[in-house]
C-alpha cells in the first residue's frame, strides 16, 4: 500500500466528491511508455542506490509536465515495494561506524580544516583509520559508512507481481484508491455477487458490517469499525483500504465511501463501481471453491431448467455472524430454496460449520454432507440432510428442493 505522502486526488468541492488519481488508457496514453521505462529502470537497476533510482524515476516522469511530484513518489514506493535491497552492506555499516568513531576519538577533534597543517593531520588520521580497518583508501570506506541510510540502499533484485506496463498502471490506480480511503469513516458497498469474498475481507481486516437487502434485490453492506458508532473516526481507513483489492476482483458492485478531508475535516464522498474497471488486469477470483461444487452446478443445469441455480446469492445474518449458503435454487415463480455443500474440509472448518448449522438452524436449507462428515449435523435437525460419498446424488437433492419449496 502507498503512504499518505504519496496520495494524489482531486476534489470537487461543489459536489463534495473525491477523485483518486487515475491513469487511463486513452487520456494518459503516454504513461504506458513511461511505465515501461520505469520497469526497465528497476529491472536493470541492480547496484544502483535508492536515491539514484528515485531521481531517475522523477526524470522519467518529468516527460509529463503535469505529473505531480506525489505521483512520482507513489511510483517510487510501488517499485521499491517489489524490490529487495542489499542487506549485507546495510548490516555491516553500523559496526564499521562504531570502529571508525572509536579509533577517531583518540585524535578528536579533527578540527580546523582550513588550517593547512591541521588539514594534513586530519587527512592522515583518516587514511590510517581506513588502513587499519582493511580499506586501501579513505573514500572507499567513506562510501560504506552510511550504507544503511535509506537513500543509500543498493538495489539487489526486483520481482514485482505485475509484469507489463499496463499491470503496473493498474496496480497504481488501485493503490491510489486505497490511499484516498485512509481518510474514510464508512464504506458502503452495493452488490449482488461475490458477497462471500467481500465479507471474508471485512473480517480479515477486523472491521464490522451491516447487511441489508434493498428492494432491487441487491445487498447493501455498510463497513466500519467498532468505535465508528461513538464518534466520527477515520482510524479504520487503512483497514477499509485493505478490502479494495478484493473488491476490484469482484463482479458487479458499487462503492461509496464517506471521507473526512483536510484540517476542517469536511465530509466528502468517493464513488466507484465495477464499471470503472479498476484493477481490471488483476487476476479474478475463481468462480468455484472446489471441483465438487463446479460439477454439481453442471449436473444441475443439465438436469432441470425450471430452477435457476444462483451461486452465493442469499445472505443470512445474525448480528455480526454471516452465513452465505453455496447456492440458491430459484423456481420460475420466484420461490427459492437454499443449498449448502459440506465436502472435503479440515476438522477445524467442519467444527465451525457445525456452529453455523446451530446458529442458523431456523433457516430452511438443504444440507448436502459428505458421509464421513455427518457428525456436524445436530441430532434433532429438522431440514433435509443428503449424504454423499463421491458424487452428489442430484436426484435426491432435487426431490428435497421440490418438497421444501412448497412447504
Amino acid at each position: 500500500m502507498l503512504t499518505r505522502r504519496c496520495a494524489v486526488a482531486t476534489y470537487d468541492w461543489s459536489t463534495a466528491a473525491v477523485f483518486p488519481d487515475r491513469l487511463t488508457q486513452t487520456r494518459d496514453r503516454k504513461y504506458r511508455h513511461l511505465a515501461e521505462l520505469l520497469l526497465q529502470l528497476y529491472r536493470r537497476g541492480r547496484g544502483r542506490t535508492r536515491e539514484q533510482l528515485h531521481r531517475r524515476v522523477r526524470q522519467i516522469l518529468d516527460h509529463d509536465p503535469g505529473c505531480p511530484p506525489r505521483r512520482a513518489e507513489a511510483f517510487c514506493k510501488l517499485l521499491d515495494d517489489a524490490s529487495k535491497f542489499d542487506r549485507i552492506a546495510q548490516q555491516a555499516a553500523p559496526a564499521l561506524r562504531r570502529q571508525v568513531f572509536a579509533l577517531a576519538a583518540r585524535s578528536h577533534p579533527l578540527a580546523g580544516l582550513d588550517d593547512s597543517a591541521a588539514a594534513g593531520l586530519a587527512s592522515s588520521v583518516r587514511q590510517s583509520i581506513a588502513r587499519k580497518l582493511g580499506f586501501s583508501a579513505w573514500h572507499e570506506m567513506a562510501l560504506r559508512m552510511y550504507a544503511d541510510v535509506r537513500e543509500r540502499h543498493v538495489l539487489k533484485t526486483f520481482r514485482p507481481e505485475y509484469r507489463t506496463a499496463d499491470e503496473l498502471l493498474s496496480h497504481y490506480n488501485v493503490a491510489q484508491v486505497q490511499a484516498a480511503l485512509f481518510d474514510a469513516e464508512l464504506v458502503t458497498v452495493l452488490t449482488s455477487d461475490d458477497l462471500k469474498s467481500l465479507i471474508r475481507a471485512v473480517k480479515l481486516a477486523h472491521l464490522m458490517h451491516r447487511i441489508e437487502r434493498e428492494a432491487s434485490g441487491r445487498y447493501r453492506v455498510d463497513i466500519d469499525g467498532p468505535a465508528s458508532i461513538l464518534r466520527r473516526t477515520s482510524r479504520y481507513g487503512a483497514a477499509l483500504a485493505r478490502i479494495i483489492p478484493t473488491l476490484a476482483r469482484c463482479r458487479d458492485w458499487q462503492l461509496s465511501a464517506r471521507l473526512r478531508i483536510g484540517r476542517r475535516r469536511s465530509t466528502m464522498q468517493l464513488r466507484l463501481s465495477s464499471d470503472d474497471r479498476l484493477g481490471h488486469s488483476l487476476p479474478t477470483h475463481p468462480e468455484y471453491d472446489s471441483k465438487l461444487e463446479s460439477q454439481f452446478a453442471e449436473q444441475w443445469r443439465s438436469r432441470d431448467s425450471r430452477y435457476r441455480l444462483l451461486r452465493e446469492a442469499d445472505v443470512l445474518t445474525r448480528g455480526q455472524s454471516v452465513f452465505i449458503p453455496d447456492y440458491s435454487a430459484v423456481r420460475e415463480d420466484g420461490k427459492r430454496v437454499l443449498l449448502e455443500i459440506v465436502g472435503f474440509w479440515t476438522e477445524d472448518y467442519l467444527r465451525s460449520k457445525s456452529v453455523v448449522m446451530q446458529r442458523f438452524r431456523e433457516e430452511p436449507i438443504v444440507w448436502i454432507v459428505r458421509r464421513s462428515n455427518r457428525w456436524v449435523v445436530p441430532s434433532d435437525f429438522s431440514w433435509p440432510v443428503i449424504e454423499f460419498e463421491r458424487q452428489i446424488p442430484i436426484d435426491q437433492v432435487f426431490d428435497a428442493v421440490e418438497k421444501l419449496v412448497d412447504a
Binding site: F101, P109, D114, D148, A227
Partner: protein, 472 residues
C-alpha cells in the same frame, strides 16, 4: 457488586470490544448504568457501546448498583516487585507522587526536564502494584524506559513498537503503536503512563487514551500545551494537572546553572549568491501572490505544488534555501572551533537535517544518531557516549526529548525549528545537575537568513528568560 458472570449468572454485563465497552442486558432493554457516560446503542450488535476510557466511572457505578453486573472488562493482574532498587524520592518528587494520589490516582505532573519525572512514575508504579503500560513519543525513549524499569524495578518489561511485539504485564510502547494496538491492549493494564503527554491531544494519537480502559492514569511533561483546548483535552483524557514546578524554580537547585551563547556566522560568498538566487524566486512569487490574494500562505503553495508547475518550482527553491541554511560551511567550521575550545569535555550537537548530521559525523568522525538508527546502534552510541568513549554526539531530532545523557554540559545547536518546545527540550539535555558545573548552550545562527527568525522565535520561552545570554 462485581461478580463474575460465569459463576453467578448475571443478567447484565460489561465487555471490552476493540477499544470500546459493550453493555449487555439479557433481561430487558433498560439503558445502561452511569447516565453521565455517553452510551450509544449499536444496532450492529444490539448492545450499548461507549469508549473504554469511561471504565473508571463505570466501576464506581457498578459498585453502587444493586443489580448483579458481570464485569468482563479488566484482564490485568497485580504485579509483585521482587527486587525493587529505587532510591527514596527527593522532596519535590514525593510532593508530586502525593498530589497524584490525592487527585484520585489520575492526573498530570508538570516538572522540568532533568528533575526526575521518570523516578516519579517509577515510584507510582511501585506503589500501585498493577499491570502498567508506559507510552512514550519515540522508540529510543521506549528502550530507555525499558532499561530504567529493569534497573529500578527488576522486571524485564515488554516492548511494543520498533518492529517488536512482546506483551507483558509491565510494558512500554510508543504513541503510534499504542494508537494502533489499543483495541487489543486496552483492557490489559490498570495503570497507563503517558510520558511527554503534551503529544497526546494530536487528533491521530488521542485513541491511545480513548481506547484504553485503564482507570489509573498518569501524564508526565515538562512543557504543557499553550493551547487551552489541548490542555482541556489532556485533562479529560488523563486527568487534571496535579503538580507543577517551573524551570526557574528548579534552576541552580535541582537543575544546573546554565548560559546561552549566540554565535553569529555568515554564508561564504558563493553560498550567499546561490541563497539569494533561490530567495529571489521565492520572494518574487510571494510578493506577486500576497498582493493579488489576501489569503496567500505557504500552505497554499504546498497544496498547489501538486498540480501547478510554478508552485512546484517555488517549493523546490524554498527547500534549497532551507538546505543551504542547515548545511552552511561556516557552521561546520565554527563547530570545529567549539570542539577545540571544549576538547576535554563532551559535546552534543543538534542539527536541522539528517544530511547535516551525516556531514558533521563524516567531517569530525563523531557518531550521529538518526531516526532510523537501529536499536543496538543507538544503545551502543549512547553507552559509548555515557562512558566517555565518544567525545561528541550529533543528532537531528532523536535526542530532542527525554533521553538521559548524564554529565553533558556543552550543547551546540546548528539548526532546528522555530519551536520553543524543541528549544526547551534541547536545553533540558544539558541542565541535569551534576556538581557545580555550569552548562552552556551555543546557538550558531546564520546572519541575514531565516535562521535568525527561528532563533528569535524559540527564545520566547520561560527557560530562555532571565538567563545569562552572550553574543560571541
Amino acid at each position: 457488586m462485581v461478580m463474575d458472570r460465569k459463576d453467578f449468572g448475571c443478567c447484565y454485563s460489561l465487555d471490552f470490544s476493540g477499544g470500546t465497552l459493550l453493555w449487555n442486558s439479557e433481561r430487558d432493554d433498560s439503558p445502561p448504568l452511569a447516565s453521565d457516560v455517553p452510551w450509544v446503542f449499536d444496532r450492529r450488535v444490539q448492545q450499548w457501546r461507549t469508549d473504554a476510557m469511561y471504565y473508571a466511572t463505570l466501576c464506581v457505578a457498578i459498585r453502587s448498583d444493586r443489580r448483579s453486573i458481570g464485569d468482563r472488562v479488566y484482564r490485568w493482574k497485580n504485579v509483585w516487585w521482587h527486587r525493587p532498587q529505587l532510591p527514596a524520592p527527593r522532596k519535590e518528587q514525593q510532593l508530586a507522587v502525593d498530589a497524584w494520589y490525592r487527585a484520585g490516582q489520575r492526573g498530570t505532573i508538570v516538572m522540568p526536564t532533568g528533575t526526575g519525572k521518570t523516578e516519579v512514575a517509577l515510584q507510582i508504579m511501585l506503589a500501585t502494584k498493577t499491570a502498567t503500560l508506559v507510552v512514550v513519543p519515540i522508540r529510543e525513549l521506549m528502550h530507555q524506559w525499558h532499561r530504567r524499569i529493569m534497573k529500578s524495578l527488576g522486571i524485564d518489561a515488554g516492548l511494543i513498537g520498533d518492529n517488536l511485539y512482546r506483551l507483558a504485564p509491565i510494558c512500554v510502547t510508543t504513541y503510534h503503536s499504542a494508537r494502533i494496538h489499543m483495541p487489543s491492549l486496552g483492557n490489559r493494564f490498570g495503570l497507563i503512563v503517558f510520558d511527554e503527554c503534551h503529544h497526546l491531544p494530536a487528533r491521530h494519537l488521542r485513541d491511545a487514551a480513548v481506547m484504553s480502559a485503564a482507570p489509573l492514569r498518569l501524564g508526565l511533561t515538562a512543557t504543557l500545551n499553550d493551547d487551552v483546548d489541548r490542555r482541556m483535552d489532556v485533562e479529560q483524557l488523563i486527568g487534571p494537572v496535579v503538580h507543577e514546578s517551573s524551570v526557574q524554580s528548579a534552576k541552580g537547585k535541582t537543575l544546573a546553572d546554565y548560559q546561552i551563547v549566540r554565535i553569529p556566522v555568515h554564508f561564504t560568498p558563493q553560498e550567499r549568491e546561490t541563497y539569494e538566487a533561490f530567495g529571489r524566486i521565492v520572494r518574487r512569487y510571494a510578493a506577486k501572490h500576497s498582493t493579488t490574494s489576501k489569503r496567500f500562505d505557504w500552505k497554499a503553495v504546498c497544496r498547489l505544488s501538486n498540480s501547478d508547475l510554478e508552485s512546484r518550482r517555488i517549493l523546490q527553491a524554498y527547500h534549497a534555501c532551507r538546505d543551504l541554511e542547515h548545511r552552511a560551511v561556516e557552521k561546520l567550521r565554527v563547530l570545529g572551533e567549539l570542539f577545540q575550545l571544549h576538547r576535554d569535555e563532551q559535546v552534543i550537537v543538534f542539527v536541522g537535517s539528517n544530511a547535516m548530521a551525516i556531514d558533521v559525523s563524516m567531517r569530525y568522525l563523531v557518531p550521529c544518531l538518526l531516526s532510523h538508527s537501529g536499536k543496538r546502534e543507538r544503545r551502543d552510541v549512547l553507552d559509548g557516549f555515557a562512558n566517555g568513549t565518544f567525545p561528541a554526539l550529533v543528532a537531528n531530532r532523536v535526542l530532542d526529548e527525554g533521553i538521559d545523557l548524564p554529565d553533558v554540559k556543552i550543547a551546540v545547536v546548528l539548526g532546528g525549528l522555530a519551536s520553543t518546545r524543541q528549544a526547551q527540550q534541547r536545553l533540558g539535555r544539558i541542565v541535569r545537575r551534576s556538581g557545580e558545573r555550569r552548562a552552556t548552550l551555543y546557538e550558531v545562527v546564520l546572519e541575514d537568513t531565516q535562521d535568525v527568525v527561528r532563533f528569535r522565535r524559540r527564545r520566547r520561552n520561560d527557560a530562555y528568560k532571565k538567563v545569562r545570554r552572550r553574543n560571541l
